[in-house]
Symmetry: C2
DNA sequence: CCGGGTTCGTTAGCCGGCTAACGAAGAGCA
DNA sequence: TGCTCTTCGTTAGCCGGCTAACGAACCCGG
């Protein structure tokens, strides 16, 4: 049925909005969150690498990175060996934001899932995995 | 955990992309889909009423309606009684697109959920309902 | 009847996705 | 050594969300 899909869309929208609200006070917008999470773990990636890990197109990363550079969250430095590449490095300010932002994300997840039992959570995860797998398979 | 949320986001993104792909050949973009679904059932609503039913802000409806008007999918006529109101009426072309678009939507939903058993589908729906309810409650 | 508050749609401007088209730099083969 | 092809990031321009600010129209109390 089509209503479970509408429900899924609605849930995602609510989560997205809540996440954006929570990160804004820290000077970070939701689109920048994934960039941060990847770079916190693996600094100095190129836009293309980031896009691949984020599951997003390269221009999206380029635009987001430009905004983050303007906001003082990262530096864009050319790769010394390959003139085509650009490497993105987080600033200390971005690294300092790691703990509070991670906490905020965790709080939102906890709250969103608070009324689910562990079993329900397992069922939910498995169902979503099946959907993703099926959509990825295409056809 | 935060990964089920990432999973949810990913599933929604895949569904959204598939839906957009399916509707494009019919001259309709994904943002216009909800407008159509509401107006198919209840023609002549105002942007504000539409926004409320769609769970979206009024400017979003206004912009989408402008694009749909340019595409010949709807007409914007002033309300004869209240000069502030604008009423949106679907064109025959938009009404003719109903069946094929509904079919396409149903096909996508069927495919996405094809690997779920009825029980799993019930579990999924109930879990999503809990999440939505919890987020709506706020706090 | 008229003047101020309310209720509309619209506009402006932002963010975050996307595709398409480019231009610069590297890689590899003749 | 060159020339072509590939591989990058960037730019341009679209769609679909949002908030904030606005202007026009209605309503209601004096």
């Amino acid at each position: 049925m089509t209503d479970v899909i509408r429900l899924l869309t609605r849930a995602q929208k609510l989560l997205r909005a809540a996440t954006d609200d929570a990160m804004r006070p820290h000077g970070v917008r939701i689109g920048q969150n994934l960039v941060l999470e990847v770079l916190w773990q693996d600094d100095g990636l190129t836009p293309g690498e980031l896009a691949a890990r984020m599951g997003v197109t390269t221009p999206t990363v380029v635009n987001t990175a430009a905004r983050m550079e303007a906001a003082g969250l990262l530096d864009r430095r050319p790769d010394p060996r390959d003139g085509r590449l650009v490497r993105l490095y987080l600033t200390p300010s971005a690294r300092a934001a790691r703990a509070p932002i991670s906490d905020a994300r965790r709080r939102i997840a906890d709250h969103a899932l608070a009324t689910l039992t562990p079993t329900e959570l397992r069922h939910l995860t498995s169902a979503l995995e099946k959907i993703v797998k099926q959509m990825d398979a295409g056809t």
